[in-house]
């Protein structure tokens, strides 16, 4: 399941990065930023690209060997005591991973939503894009450490 969770997290981050990235490209051609284009792109890449590259790097270089989880599909009546213990441990591990994945996914979605809102909410507020980017950093800082811990759980282990 670790591979599955890693892929899902990577997908969330890639989508969360690509959408505002394409918007910034459109805005560049629309002349929105002028010579401040680098500021907007730099802000986005500083907040997202390092995490995405870490994920890619781990996935490419660190292949996981899936555990044999066939025991989970067998009824208890067919298992001896030792096999029952292994099955219980596997089930607990899966449950734990699922919980951590849900937290990581939720935190990632909220983090990326705040980043995207800095671009997509700007037409309906009274602030310039640069002001929104600066102010959203306060909110993003709340998630930084928490997110690093959760992402590290999935991409830090072999």
């Amino acid at each position: 399941m670790l591979d599955v969770y890693r892929k899902r997290l990577l997908t969330i981050w890639c989508v969360g990065f690509l959408v505002p990235f394409l918007l910034i490209l459109l805005q560049y051609f629309g002349g929105k930023y002028g010579d401040k284009f680098g500021e907007a792109l730099g802000w986005l890449t500083a907040l997202t690209l390092s995490t995405i590259l870490l994920m890619f790097g781990v996935m490419v270089s660190n292949k996981t060997t899936p555990l044999d989880e066939t025991l989970l599909n067998l009824p208890d009546a067919q298992l001896d005591d030792q096999q029952k213990q292994v099955k219980a441990a596997l089930a607990a591990k899966n449950s734990h991973e699922k919980f951590v994945f849900q937290m990581a996914a939720a935190a990632s979605v909220i983090y990326l939503l705040i980043i995207n809102l800095a671009f997509f909410a700007e037409p309906v507020v009274s602030y310039k894009p640069q002001e929104l980017m600066r102010d959203s950093k306060v909110w993003l800082a709340l998630f930084d450490s928490f997110l690093s811990l959760l992402i590290g759980y999935f991409f830090g282990k072999s």
């Binding site: 805005q27 929105k32 010579d35 680098g38 802000w43 671009f119 037409p123 600066r134 950093k137 811990l149």
Partner: protein
């Protein structure tokens, strides 16, 4: 559990250290703010005077001793030199009475307060002479006071009530009526309601999907305008383009720095309102336009937009003709 807590603490410390350091945007913005503070306006240096024989430079004009005066309040009279020939157009500057005969006149400071509207005025986007016949008193001689009332009445038709006008004048023969800074469309039509008089740099909000898409891709362009109506005998149309363009902050403060009526608060010796609007006098309408956009740090005059950075694209579609701007604002004189 202990390992998880320890790892969490390490992450908190790293996260806190990362949050304290400047990111590229903050650094760029800080640098941009410092640059904009150091150069508070993006104006080019003042143009050289077109008549060097009589005006070696703007600050030390020898053509007119009254050129660089602070205006509008009697408390500034101490900084003003009086010429021996009133209403003379070509007098050279006379030294003050207290100066020794051999000393040259002290260089005049153009303005003690940069927010005051100076004579000669800052460089406008456009100038147009107003038909004098619309301002004359049909029953006899016309005074400055009567001209000011006719101008104010015409401006009131365009929505410029008395509280949206500011008066500036020099000691004796020039005055200006300045309108409050307002938000306008590119064709000069003012925005509606309270949005018109919003002089802040806050960006407008989108009201429908088309505006949302336009603002999202192209950014929000906000245009600001000030009219200045100058009554003078000293200048022609081309004489208004010698100074530098005003910056937005200066223009924003003209309304509060000016007086509410011509001659208000003046001392008894300078009865500017009783000066006769003779044949030598003309009335000019000056137009000042500013634009704000995400690619700019602050609103700037549209004639100082950088071609290099392609910021001059922001002035595309803007009506720079004073007559059209006046017409689209429903200002009418002489009725």
């Amino acid at each position: 559990m202990g390992k998880i807590l320890f790892t969490f603490l390490i992450m908190l410390i790293i996260g806190g250290a990362t949050g304290c350091s400047d990111n590229s945007l903050q650094t760029a913005n800080t640098a941009a703010n410092r640059a904009s503070a150091a150069n508070s306006s993006q104006q080019p240096p003042p143009s050289p005077i077109a008549t060097p024989t009589t005006q070696p430079n703007v600050l030390n004009s020898t053509k007119d001793s009254n050129d660089n005066r602070i205006v509008g309040t009697s408390s500034n009279s101490a900084s003003i030199e009086k010429s021996n020939k009133p209403n003379s157009k070509s007098t050279t500057a006379k030294p003050p009475l207290s100066a020794t005969p051999e000393s040259t006149p002290a260089p005049k400071t153009e303005q003690k307060d940069n927010a005051l509207f100076s004579f000669p005025p800052p460089k406008p986007i456009g100038v147009r002479e107003i038909d004098k016949s619309q301002l004359l008193n049909p029953e006899g001689a016309t005074t400055f006071s009567q001209v000011a009332k006719k101008l104010a009445a015409g401006l009131a038709k365009g929505g410029y009530q008395n509280e949206k006008l500011a008066y500036f004048w020099n000691e004796k023969d020039e005055f200006a009526i300045i309108t409050a800074i307002e938000r306008v469309k590119p064709d000069g039509a003012p925005l509606e309601g309270d949005e018109r008089w919003d002089a802040s740099i806050h960006q407008p909000k989108a009201h429908n999907f088309a505006e949302y898409a336009k603002y999202l891709i192209g950014g929000k362009k906000v245009y600001y305008r000030v009219f200045a109506f100058i009554v003078t005998s000293k200048r022609n149309e081309r004489d208004f383009f010698h100074n530098a363009s005003p910056d937005f902050t200066m223009a924003k403060h003209w309304l509060e720095k000016g007086k509410g009526a011509l001659g208000e608060g003046g001392d008894e010796t300078s009865m500017i309102e009783d000066v006769l609007f003779g044949d030598s006098y003309k009335c000019f309408a000056l137009l000042y336009l500013f634009v704000n956009h995400p690619r700019l740090d602050n609103p700037v005059s549209i004639d100082v937009l950088s071609e290099e950075k392609r910021d001059d694209e922001l002035s595309v579609g803007v009506k720079k003709d004073v007559g059209e701007q006046v017409k689209n604002t429903s200002i009418k004189f002489g009725e």
